[in-house]
Amino acid sequence: MIDFTSTPIILTVILGTIGMLIPVINVARKEKGSSVYGVITLGALLASIGFVIYQIVTKQITQSAIFSSNVLVDDKFGSFFAIAMLIVGIMTTVGSFNYMRSRANPAVYYSLILLSSIGMVLIAYSTDLVMLFVSWELMSIPTYVLAGYLKKDPSSNEAAIKYFLFGALSSGIIIYGISIAYGLTGSTNIEQVIAGFSHLSPDMMPLALLAVGMFIAGFGFKIGIVPFHMWLPDAYEGSPPTIAALLAAGTKKAGFAAALRVIIMGAIALNLHWAFALAVIAIVTMTVGNLAAIRQRNLTRMLAYSSIGQAGYILIGLSVAPISPIGIQASLFHILNHSVMKAAAFIAVAGIVTTLGVTHIEKIKGLGKKMPITAFGLTISLLALAGVPPLNGFWSKLMLFGSAIDAGHTVSWAPYLAIAGVLNSALSLAYYGWIIRKMYFEDDGEQKRVKEPKSVIAVMIFSIIFIVGIGVYPDPIIQFAKSAVPIMSGLPAIH
């Protein structure tokens, strides 16, 4: 029934064992010191990512069939997301080394990061709604704790409560959606649910629409699409910046992994009109995110709004998915790129917070002189987020807008998505450019270089190499994203 050598099982065993072991070591160990737990966590994450790559290279992993009668499937779609999530986990862990040095309970902190990583990885592999929901909660519950990690800090607690209330409500809505889907089709397996939806009698169709609407609302809370985005800036601003990196780059992308499976379901249940609805949401999301980001004076909050805007770009690819063949491929490519860019930006902010203790945008004047490597890493990731040509963000945005224009052959509204995307990119360059201007072209009189945390430098160097490397030679990742796209054939035709 369950293949114990498949990637998701082995990943669960590696990450779960280490994640449970770390608090035990903490109890058994007499001396204090946080770095040992960080190193163990990093080792587990590196072993997992190595294992995923080894499985892709050696074993003939199924071309993303996406459906299976089991609860988990070992396919390239899952492996793609697993790699993205594990990279985010590694960046968060390494970025936390310095941040956690003087703080309480490092063992619990790293253990929760590992548990949350298992959840994120399993979401991408699961083919059953029960498994999807359990992994969703396994991902979410540790992040509620992590967001409120600074328990003496009122804003961290406030962020955690807001995040928790919205997150718990969203999971309640997801279960309700699942219960309707189960009632209509008699199964929780995604393949059978889709098959059941496509043979539904017309008078039951509104209920199927309700179920898919509830899925979109539930997953949309985590993704941060616009009517459900209110909690997101508060949660990212109040929680520790390293955790903001995990939330923005990790849990948000896992939400997309879940949404991709559901949207295929929606494609059959709702025929073509859902694509238009999603396109409207995409445009509203990116515009609201970018417009709100311009007004912000706090670096974390600005990045939070910019991540709402980026969710809008990714939705472009999802909304044209049934029409254009490269839609999902472009979305996957942008998901991977955005994970690294956003995690790098938040880790840079974490570095600034630990050394200078500021997040206000007026206070980072002269950062280019004070913390040259962090400032350079932040600049590169911001430029990549804006989509400046030689960087990876440019290629994925090009593919996203290209897919929208490509879909224009079939539906007349699709090219407007590309236009909105380009206008929004220009808009976003305004506030990214503002941060860069503050860092390099203004100073507050102090020119002295401060000592930068080594762990932040390591993350910055990795992300600069990743961003520029993929920007110069994007082909392998584009091919990988292409092979990860689920095969739509074999499904009932979209009508």
Binding site: V130, K151, I161, A168, S171, I178, S179, S187, R297
Partner: protein, 101 residues
């Protein structure tokens, strides 16, 4: 639909509506937690009722999973509320407004 099933669905929809009302209107963190519990339990009721009428056991299995998960979730939520109470001596979420922009 079978005669008995519709009753279960009506109760479940009523619970869902009460839960959402509670989350939308109340400003006390514990009351909001109640609202979330009601949403989750309305879904559980749905699952069990469907499972009885389809009939197969998947729904009941899922309801068990979901009850366990909801318990874990509420434990975390209550812990957060306790920390908030220690700081503010109050659990009215309208008073938590240090984050703005």
């Amino acid at each position: 639909m079978t005669n008995g099933l519709i009753d279960f669905i009506l109760v479940s929809v009523a619970l869902l509506a009460i839960g959402i009302y509670g989350i939308a209107v109340k400003r006390n963190a514990i009351r909001m937690l109640f609202g979330i519990e009601m949403v989750v339990n309305s879904a559980n009721l749905n699952l069990v009722a469907f499972s009885r009428y389809i009939p197969n056991s998947q729904g009941q299995t899922f309801a068990l999973f979901s009850i366990a998960i909801a318990a874990a979730e509420v434990a975390v939520g209550l812990a957060l509320v306790i920390v908030a109470y220690r700081m503010y001596r109050n659990i009215d979420i309208a008073d938590f407004r240090s984050l703005k922009g």
